[in-house]
Symmetry: C2
């Protein structure tokens, strides 16, 4: 089916928004981690090498705001907070798997192209 120009660009903007959400530095790692099971804050922090607590917080807040992750507070001492993927968040995993498959499949070609380009000039 053929789309009108306006629809094409608005779809591009939509895709751009999605990429802005999952395309940042840490979201992929967080989602991949929560794909297995719910997790606590510091547990995730320890699991993701190099992430600061600030960025973990911001990443989780963003995902929570978009309804991709739920945040559950247990009023205990010390406090405990669980993060979990929502149903919507689960659907993200399939997309990321698609990206992973593409990446693994074409990585050698891309690396070769880069090397050739860089060797040029």
């Amino acid at each position: 089916m053929t789309l009108r120009h306006k629809d094409e660009t608005s779809t591009c903007r939509l895709v751009g928004d999605v990429l802005a959400r999952i395309g940042d530095k840490w979201t992929v790692f967080v989602v991949r981690l929560l794909a297995d099971r719910p997790m606590r804050f510091n547990e995730m922090k320890r699991s993701i090498d190099g992430i600061s607590q600030r960025m973990l917080t911001l990443t989780l807040r963003g995902l929570e705001r978009d309804g991709l992750v739920t945040r559950t507070v247990f009023p205990t001492v010390p406090p405990r907070v669980d993060y979990e993927l929502t149903d919507l968040g689960q659907t993200l995993i399939h997309m990321l798997q698609g990206l992973g498959t593409w990446a693994i499949e074409h990585q050698p070609t891309i690396f070769a192209a880069r090397a050739a380009y860089d060797a040029r000039e």
Copy 2:
């Protein structure tokens, strides 16, 4: 199948690399444009609302470096340069269509979640 931790994180890094390439501000628009047919520089610049010639140049250079786009110079006066997707670049389109489908399908849910979250506090 279950992966070892090391493989999981390296796959995450690969996905991160892919997202760094296609997840920037303009790549999606450029690729979508070239999906239809080869195009000239200024033709693309006019078609993508808001892009600067600098960013169009940088975006195209990046895509060319990774072997996703070819650059063909015609030694005429005035000069003419055509940009075209490679076979590898074509495979990107399918992925972007997948992202587009996901985005269109879940956009209402995400917007609702955002509104609810923002209304909260």
